[in-house]
Every structure is written in structure tokens, then in C-alpha cells.
């Protein structure tokens, strides 16, 4: 009873908690995902903004270069001073419309810097490579060809940029954007570190994956992987921005959730505790009631025994002919016997509940025990008009508990008296080795097949017109069966066409011979 209650209370608490917890985690997950998504969007927007700034620098440079290159003088002599006055670039290539190098001159006088420039751009002018890819004009019907743009080439361990432009006179000019100069511009365009503390850092990585610039307060372990990346816009698409750092923790939302769950758990535990207390109270109450009845019955037992004893003494001593007195005393004796059975039952029931019922076998004859019990019931049965037919066929002394057997049989006879009045009862005993058998077959209304098991349940009484009038505690048959089982046997209701047919089986070893001799 108690463990089952405990279990159900646990389920009552844990099941809703589990459901709530699961739901809470789902909500927290969703929330985290939402926060992360929002955070991703913000970070990505910041990277986009940084990349756009670089893009604006590059398009500004392209516009300035395009305008500047349009003013490129035609002659080599004029080109040099013009070039010296340019702030955006230091070197340029000039090709004829046919793709031949005009400047710096491949032959003749040129400065050391021009010579080095020609050397590192050899791949562009040798074989007219640049001129070929930036063709002057498409054939008729072709889409218009771009007049200028960036040209990327890799030299000296990194990306290099040329801005080329096809001039109106057909010349192709290309200004070299020094990588370091470009980098200085890009660095200038990107944000610098702000604030005093932070956990993120953004890096600009070049085409070889080297950090060329970084901002933000966060420290980046050497093995860290970026949380977000963004390539720079063309022509610097080989470079990218990499952002390092964790998303901000969503502690606030998580705390609220766990607080809510904790409150629900407390409420449930409180509810369970209340149920537990209430049921404990009922149990205590029931136990107290049983204890009270038990104590009262004990108190009643001694005076009742005295009443019975003196009533029986009086029966013996009264003159035979004083019929009236004899009849009165017989009633007192019978009623006191009935009362003592009732009390015996209650005490046994209480002992059984406390699991203190023990078997006390003594050497005895079953037929004697049955005879004694029947003798006690004689007047009551006679008053109820029940004739007893006896078959005694259990000879020999065995070890059995006479009180216990008397109680079982008494309960059956009590039922006969109550429910089967006016019809004969047949009581037979048999013995087969250790197995003893007593059958009680009355001539009453019997027990419906549907109730055959239920009659043994405590406090059960088959409801019909006949039994409704009868009084009883409702514990007799169940108790009788339990006692029979305690005695190594059973009490069953046999199928019968007329009346109730009970069979008691008992297990009783034969009594030792010495004890038999002694009697």
C-alpha cells in the first residue's frame, strides 16, 4: 500500500516536471537559436559594412585612376614628369593600340625603378598578354567591351593590382597599384579598436591567409576558427574578413526558464506532500480504530469467558425438570458462545493484520475437534431448525491447532445458522495421510457461481432478499480461508446444485506415538 502510494506520488511529481522541463528546453533552444540568428545577422551586417567600405575605397580609386589616366601625355618625355606628379600611383604601362609597349621604354634610357617595374610586369607585356585580354573593341554586333577595369596578377608573394584603361586614341594604359599602398588604404578604411574591453576580433586575411590587419579587443588563440567570414568585394575577392569570438551568452532567458521550472517543481512536490500527509492520516486513523476495537475485544473476552463458564455450570446444576430455567440458561450459554466467536474473529483479524498469527499444533483427533464445535453449536442450530448429519471418518491423532480448526468450522456453522435455517446440514470428515478434509454442505440457497470467489473477500456479502436480513461482520469466510491456509490447507466453495458446499483441507502430520500412549 505505502510503496505504491509513494510510487504514484513520485510519478505525479516527476511526469509533469519532465514534460515541463522538455518544453522549457525546447523553448530555450528556440530562444537561443533566435538570438544566434539575430546575432549572426548583426555580425554579418558589420562584416558587410566593413567589406563595403573597402569596396567604396576601391571604386573611389578606380574613378580617380580612370580620370587620371585619361590625362596621360602622348610622349615618353612628357610621361615621366607627369607620372612624378601623380599621387595615386608610381608606375604605369602604356601600350600602343597594337599592344606594343610604349612606356616604360623597353630600349633606351630608363631609370632603375622603371627597369624593375618592367621586370616584375614582364608577364603582362611579354607576348602582349594584357593587351590581348583587354581587347580594343569587339567585332560588329558584339556587346560593348568595358573601357577600363582592374587586372589582378600574383607576383612577389601576393596579389597585385593594375588599373587599365583604353584611351580614346586607342592606347591601353595600366597604372600599378602598389600592394602596400593599397593595403594602407584598406587598413585606413577598416574600423579600429574601440572601447576598453571586448571578446571579439576581426581580421583581414590576405590570399595566403596571413593576417594583414585586425581590430577588436578579443584575444584569438592560435587554433581558433572564425565564427563568420566575408570575402572582400572584387578585385580583392582573394582577401577575406574573419570574425572571431563567441556569441553572447543567453543567460537571462535561461535563468527565467529554470526559475519557472523550479517553481513548478516546488508546487508539485508540495501537492504530493499534502496527499502523502492526508493518506498517512487516514491510515493512522484506521490503525487506531483497529487497535481500539482490538483492545475493547480483549477487555470483553475475560468477562465473557466467565459468563460462559458460569452459564454452563448453571446448566449442569439446574434440576432437569425446571424447563423454563434450563431454556433460559441455554440461551445465555449459546449467545455468550456466539459473542466469544465474534470476539475471537476480531482478535484473529487484528493479529493477522499485524502478522502475529501463529499456528499452535497439539496432538488431537479431528473428529473430536469437529464434535466439540458441533456440540457448542448444538442449541443454536437446533433453534434454527438445522438437523446435523455427521460422517466422521478421520481417525487417528494428528498435530493440529484445535482452536484454529474450531474457529474455521465455527465460521462455517455460523453461516449455516444464519443463511440455511430450516434445512439439514451434512458435515463429513476424511483423512488421507497428512491431509485432513472437512466438508460442510448445507441446504440453504447456496452461493451464485459469480460470487464464488467474492464471498471470501472481507466485508463482502452477497446481496439478495434472504441475506439482507442476516447480521454479520463480513470477515468470517475470508478469515476462515486464511486460517485454513495457515494450517497448510485451504477453504474452497465446491460447486453444488443445492446449498453451499464448503470444503476445508488441512495438513496435519500424525502425532508422535509416545504422546498417543500417554493419553
Amino acid at each position: 500500500m505505502r510503496p505504491r502510494l509513494l510510487l504514484s506520488l513520485l510519478v505525479l511529481v516527476l511526469a509533469p516536471l519532465a514534460v515541463l522541463g522538455w518544453l522549457g528546453l525546447r523553448v530555450a533552444d528556440d530562444q537561443r537559436a533566435a538570438v544566434n540568428a539575430r546575432f549572426d545577422a548583426v555580425v554579418q551586417a558589420r562584416l558587410d559594412e566593413a567589406a563595403d567600405r573597402v569596396g567604396r575605397v576601391m571604386s573611389g580609386r578606380a574613378r580617380a585612376l580612370s580620370t587620371a589616366l585619361d590625362g596621360a601625355p602622348a610622349t615618353v618625355a612628357a610621361l615621366r614628369p607627369w607620372l612624378a606628379g601623380q599621387t595615386a600611383f608610381a608606375h604605369m604601362l602604356v601600350f600602343t593600340a597594337d599592344g606594343d609597349v610604349l612606356f616604360p621604354p623597353l630600349t633606351g634610357a630608363r631609370s632603375e625603378a622603371e627597369r624593375l617595374f618592367l621586370e616584375r610586369t614582364r608577364g603582362l607585356w611579354a607576348g602582349r598578354a594584357l593587351a590581348a585580354t583587354r581587347a580594343a573593341a569587339g567585332k560588329d554586333g558584339d556587346p560593348p567591351v568595358a573601357r577600363d577595369g582592374w587586372h589582378i596578377w600574383y607576383w612577389g608573394g601576393g596579389l597585385n593590382l593594375l588599373f587599365w584603361r583604353r584611351l580614346d586614341d586607342g592606347r591601353l594604359v595600366a597604372a600599378e597599384l602598389d600592394r602596400v599602398a593599397l593595403l594602407a588604404d584598406v587598413v585606413a578604411a577598416l574600423p579600429s579598436t574601440q572601447g576598453e574591453a571586448g571578446t571579439e576580433r576581426t581580421r583581414l586575411l590576405d590570399s595566403a591567409g596571413r593576417t594583414v590587419y585586425q581590430w577588436g579587443e578579443g584575444a584569438v588563440p592560435p587554433t581558433a576558427q572564425p565564427s563568420h567570414t566575408r570575402a572582400l568585394p572584387s578585385p580583392l575577392s582573394a582577401w577575406h574578413l574573419a570574425r572571431y569570438g563567441d556569441p553572447p551568452p543567453t543567460a537571462a532567458g535561461g535563468l527565467g526558464l529554470w526559475l519557472g521550472l523550479g517553481a513548478a517543481a516546488l508546487a508539485l512536490i508540495g501537492l504530493a506532500a499534502w496527499f502523502w500527509r492526508a493518506s498517512s492520516h487516514e491510515l493512522r486513523l484506521a490503525r487506531a480504530r483497529v487497535t481500539f476495537v482490538n483492545q475493547v475485544s480483549h477487555e470483553l473476552k475475560t468477562p465473557l469467558t466467565n459468563i460462559r463458564m458460569y452459564a454452563e455450570l448453571l446448566q449442569d446444576e439446574l434440576p432437569e425438570d425446571d424447563e423454563r430455567a434450563q431454556r433460559y440458561v441455554a440461551v445465555v450459554a449459546a449467545e455468550s458462545q456466539r459473542l466469544s466467536r465474534l470476539i475471537g474473529n476480531i482478535l484473529t483479524f487484528a493479529r493477522q493484520a499485524r502478522e502475529t498469527l501463529v499456528l499452535r499444533p497439539v496432538p488431537a483427533r479431528l473428529d473430536d475437534v469437529v464434535g466439540d464445535t458441533l456440540a457448542g453449536f448444538g442449541p443454536a442450530l437446533a433453534a434454527a431448525g438445522v438437523a446435523v448429519q455427521r460422517v466422521a471418518d478421520a481417525p487417528g491423532r494428528v498435530l493440529l491447532d484445535p482452536d484454529l480448526v474450531g474457529q474455521i468450522l465455527g465460521n462455517l456453522l455460523s453461516n449455516v445458522e444464519k443463511y440455511a435455517a430450516g434445512a439439514p446440514v451434512r458435515i463429513a470428515t476424511a483423512r488421507d495421510g497428512e491431509r485432513l478434509r472437512v466438508t460442510v454442505h448445507d441446504g440453504g440457497p447456496g452461493v451464485a457461481a459469480a460470487h464464488r470467489d467474492a464471498v471470501f473477500q472481507p466485508f463482502f456479502r452477497p446481496s439478495n432478499a434472504l441475506t439482507d436480513r442476516a447480521q454479520g461482520t463480513g470477515i468470517g469466510l475470508g478469515l476462515a480461508r486464511d486460517l485454513a491456509r495457515l494450517h497448510g490447507g485451504d477453504l474452497v466453495l465446491l460447486p453444488s446444485e443445492t446449498g453451499a458446499h464448503f470444503e476445508i483441507t488441512l495438513r496435519a502430520p500424525p502425532a508422535p506415538a509416545s504422546q498417543e500412549d500417554a493419553l
Binding site: A88, R110, S111, E112, E114, A184, S192, T193, T211, Q214
Partner: protein, 435 residues
């Protein structure tokens, strides 16, 4: 200084006299050449900044102070650097523009370009510097230059003053790359002065960055010298009178331009072009061209070169042009030729040649050829000593002593310090640094 600033405030941009011109002085080391022989001589084109006529008048400046605040700067270094920067701000007039940039692994623009009238804000920015982290030198200079570009004005002195005590290790970090950055900034009219602090900075990187942009370069061994050098630098910045000086030397027939000593220059055929970013008041900067002259007839006079200089005059805010021509006379004997030699041209040429030898010795030492390096330096000291005997100029004697000292310190723990000193002295002579 404070009086100067006050007077500048009271006397805004008055028209300045027309006489304010850079002095051009083009001379051959040997104006007389022995006839019938091929000669190597030196053509010096000197340019001297004028004095601002109005007392206290000066060119407004646009300066970015870029401070290394990497972990190695902790302690006295950063304290001294902040103090020096704070004091340097006092040199600025209210119309000047200043920005403060500090870098470690990343860059912080502590004070974006702002009028120097708000000195409290600038000082507060300097006070916010706390050291820690790596050295993103390239990004620091780039950001400093970016602040300058917000108010980039041809009629201001646009300068980045960089203080670093370490090696660049975030972003571009090679001397070549920083040199390219310097060249890029020079094109925009920005010069970079580099102050190398202590014994751990990369002197090649720092000197090449300064050289490419025609700024100054100093080796500051002790942090307590920082204030002095900042003061010198700000003195230099505030006395610039000319900018974007471009020199063209057209050599006459029979004169071959061989090379330019010290400075970078382009030689294309007979034409030599060089640039000087800015000229300081009353200081001479020059281009020293080595020429080879074909034999001439006795008694004849031959043109050697035509010199053309154009520059931005910061007093008149106009672009001025100067011209000069140099000729040589042919005399009978080498003795006559030597006797007629131009002392100051020759002294400057000797100093530059000795500087070049010094640089060569440093390269040899870098290659592990210590004995050869030592020999070069000792020979250099003797060469300078001989010229001191000839010309009697104490600077030659000093340079001779300096080379002897260099020769002694090629080995052991002194070498690092000595190498920094050598780079600094080379820079001083090559670029005619004002301090």
C-alpha cells in the same frame, strides 16, 4: 615657445614679402679640372630654407603621433613616451591639427584629428594609453596617416611621428614593405619620422620607412631622452618652409651622371630627378651627384649641368621655380685642380662616401664577414682622417672617430646597439637631418 604661439594667434596670415625664397646653390666639387683627362667629381645641389620674415610666423602643421603600446613598452618606457608626447603638444599652436594613435595587436585612434586648441582632449587621449599586446606597426602608421588625410593640406606640414621599441609582427612587417608604405605616404605629401626606442626595434625597418617618406630617424637609447627628441622633432616640424621640392639636373654633353649619393634619385639618360619632401628654415638639404666628365681642352670652359628646382613655398603659398647652371674650367695641372677644389662640396661628398662605406661595412657584418667589415671601417676612419687633415673640418674628425668606434663594436653584445647607432648616423648624413 608660448610667446610664439601667442603672436601667431595675434597676427594671422599677413601677406609675406616676395623675398622669401629657398636658396639654390649648385656647385661642382672641382670647378677647375685638369685638361686632357677624364674626371670624376661631385655636383652638389644645395637648397636652404629661408627664415619666416614675420616673427613667430610658421607653417601650420598636421601631425599624427603614433605610439607603440605593445607589452614591451610597459613601465618607464610608456610613462616617458606619454610624458614626451604630452609635452610635445605644448609646441603646437591652436591652428595646428593633431591626432593620437596607439597600437599594439590592434590600433586605437585615441584622438581623431582635432585642432590643437583643445589640448585637454589630446592630453586625456594620451593618458588613456595602457600597454599590452603585439606590434601592429604597419596598421598604426596607416591609421595615423589616415587621420592626417582628413585635413591633408599642401600648405601644412603633414607628418606622422612614430615611436616604437619593437619589431613589427602583425600585418606587413618587412623593411621593404614599410619602405613602400613610406613611399606611398610621401606621394600624398606625408612624411614619417621614426623614433626607435631601446635596443629591440628593427632599425632597418624604421630607417627605411623614414627615408622613403623623407622624415627623420632617431635612435633613442634611453627612455628619458624621449622628451628631448620629441622637442627636436616638433621643432623640425614647425620650421618647415618649403614642400614638394623636385630637382631636375640635366647634365651637359660630355658629363655622365653616375649616381646620387645618400638620397634616392632617378637617372634617365642625362637627366637626374630627385625629390625632397620638405625644407626646414635655415637648414641646407642637398643632392650630391657623382659625375664623370670627359677630357676637355686647356683653358676652355664647359657647361656641366642645368639645374631646375620647383617647390611649394609655404610662406607665399605659391609654387616657385629656381634655376642654376654649373660650368667647369679646364686648367693645366692636377695640382691646380686640387687647389681650386670647393671645400664644402668636397667635405659633404666625403661624408656621404664615408657613410656609404659605413653602410657597406654594416652589410658585411650582417653577412658574418666581420673581419672585412672591420677593415672597411678602419680604412674609412683613415680616409676621413686624411680628409680632416686636408680640409680641417671637425665634423670629418668626429666621423672618423665614430667609424673607429664602430670598428671596435662589431662583436659581442655591443653590436646590436652599435648597429642602431650606425643606421642613425648614416641616416643623418644621407638625409641631412636637422637634428
Amino acid at each position: 615657445m608660448r610667446r610664439l604661439i601667442l603672436s601667431l594667434m595675434l597676427l594671422p596670415a599677413l601677406a609675406l614679402a616676395d623675398g622669401q625664397q629657398v636658396k639654390l646653390d649648385a656647385r661642382l666639387g672641382h670647378p677647375s679640372l685638369a685638361a686632357g683627362q677624364k674626371h670624376t667629381s661631385y655636383l652638389k645641389v644645395g637648397l636652404t630654407g629661408f627664415t619666416m620674415e614675420k616673427a613667430g610666423a610658421r607653417t601650420p602643421v598636421n601631425v599624427a603621433i603614433v605610439l607603440d603600446k605593445s607589452g614591451s613598452m610597459s613601465g618607464e618606457k610608456i610613462m616617458r613616451a606619454k610624458e614626451a608626447a604630452r609635452r610635445a603638444i605644448d609646441h603646437l599652436a591652436p591652428s595646428d591639427i593633431v591626432s593620437i594613435v596607439a597600437y599594439d595587436s590592434t590600433v586605437r585612434v585615441l584622438v581623431p584629428a582635432t585642432k590643437a586648441s583643445d589640448k585637454e582632449t589630446v592630453r586625456a587621449g594620451i593618458d588613456r594609453i595602457t600597454p599590452g599586446g603585439n606590434t601592429a606597426l604597419f596598421a598604426g602608421v596607416s591609421k595615423g596617416a589616415d587621420e592626417l588625410q582628413k585635413f591633408l593640406d599642401k600648405n601644412r606640414v603633414n607628418r606622422v611621428v612614430l615611436l616604437s621599441d619593437g619589431l613589427a609582427n602583425v600585418g606587413p612587417a618587412s623593411p621593404g614593405e614599410l619602405e613602400a608604405l613610406g613611399a606611398r605616404l610621401a606621394r600624398l605629401g606625408i612624411s614619417v619620422t621614426t623614433l626607435g626606442l631601446g635596443l629591440d626595434y628593427n632599425e632597418d625597418l624604421m630607417s627605411r620607412l623614414a627615408r622613403a617618406s623623407d622624415g627623420n630617424h632617431v635612435f633613442v637609447e634611453q627612455a628619458n631622452d624621449l622628451a628631448r627628441f620629441f622637442a627636436l622633432e616638433f621643432g623640425d616640424v614647425t620650421s618647415v618652409v618649403a614642400r614638394d621640392v623636385s630637382l631636375t639636373i640635366d647634365c651637359a654633353e660630355g658629363v655622365r651622371p653616375v649616381r646620387v649619393l645618400g638620397r634616392d634619385a632617378d637617372i634617365v639618360g642625362q637627366r637626374v630627378t630627385a625629390r625632397i619632401n620638405q625644407l626646414v628654415s635655415e637648414r641646407e638639404k642637398f643632392v650630391m651627384l657623382e659625375v664623370e666628365v670627359t677630357p676637355g681642352e686647356l683653358g676652355s670652359e664647359r657647361p656641366v649641368a642645368q639645374v631646375k628646382v620647383s617647390y611649394g613655398n609655404l610662406a607665399t603659398r605659391s609654387t616657385d621655380t629656381l634655376k642654376a647652371s654649373v660650368a667647369a674650367r679646364f686648367v693645366a695641372t692636377p695640382a691646380e685642380m686640387t687647389a681650386a677644389a670647393d671645400k664644402w662640396v668636397m667635405v659633404d661628398a666625403v661624408q656621404l662616401i664615408a657613410t656609404e662605406k659605413n653602410r657597406m661595412a654594416l652589410t658585411l657584418r650582417d653577412e658574418g664577414r666581420n673581419t672585412e667589415a672591420k677593415q672597411v671601417l678602419q680604412d674609412n676612419a683613415v680616409f676621413l682622417e686624411q680628409n680632416f687633415q686636408r680640409w680641417g673640418t671637425s665634423s670629418l674628425k668626429d666621423l672618423s672617430t665614430s667609424n673607429k668606434e664602430d670598428a671596435k663594436n662589431l662583436e659581442g653584445e655591443n653590436w646590436n646597439r652599435q648597429r642602431k647607432k650606425m643606421r642613425r648616423v648614416q641616416y643623418q648624413f644621407d638625409m641631412q637631418q636637422s637634428y
